[in-house]
Symmetry: C2
Subunit: 157 residues, 2 copies
Amino acid sequence: MKRDDPFVSDHATLKLWLRLLSCSTQMESEIRRRLRKRFGISLGRFDYLAALHRHPHGLKMSELSRHLRVTGGNVTGLTDDLERDGMVVRESNPTDRRAWMLKLTARGRRTFETMAREHEQWVLELFGGLDDHALGELYAHLGVLRTHLKPDTEESR
Amino acid sequence: MKRDDPFVSDHATLKLWLRLLSCSTQMESEIRRRLRKRFGISLGRFDYLAALHRHPHGLKMSELSRHLRVTGGNVTGLTDDLERDGMVVRESNPTDRRAWMLKLTARGRRTFETMAREHEQWVLELFGGLDDHALGELYAHLGVLRTHLKPDTEESR
């Protein structure tokens, strides 16, 4: 920790953290607002569909919960809603008869893909103030940050 | 939107957004865990004290709510708790007799400053994988991102 450095003095790293949190919170709330307005869908529901879309062979409910970091209760409630809307099916699991596999229906897949294309345009637009060089640097630095965060948070649990 | 560019093809900006969100979420949950473990305090309570610390002349409850972006109900509950613990006082407001001014007590200020020093060390440690040059670039790029986000989110509300 170089306390004499002009960057770390004057609480610069603390300001960086508040700026990172503020960008992330603002983007998330803007995306949440647009999903609601454009598709009448919650962010939780969108993330649920996104996780199943990334796993075309299906996920157990416990696996899906881990992907979404929400409580099992939320996943159960979302599953009931999405099954009723014909977006998701529960299929019997050949390797574990007690656990259902959750999969997107053809309709769920189509619906998600339509939303995902628009969602990606929003993300491009929200990052539109940065040129490609800056986007690449941001991506690289956040990669280093994430790698540094992972072992710390795991060993300290 | 340069769709042919190698960076924006292959969903690179979408991956950047997921990485930004993941870093922010992981850091927040690690800081929340440490505040709980080290000081037995919630992140909401820490943020409440931080906001009053930045405003030594006090804040009205409505102003504090805006700073914290939590519901009025939460601020009322936190105020009751922190007043009972001798950290915060409600003072009558000379310019508006119906609204109380919330201020830190000397004890609240001392307690917060002790926690804030340690909190800042955690932030330095969590960003410790990045050198000062990278920290500076990250800060600058997030500044551009935030400036770009602000008008969009405000005009679209």
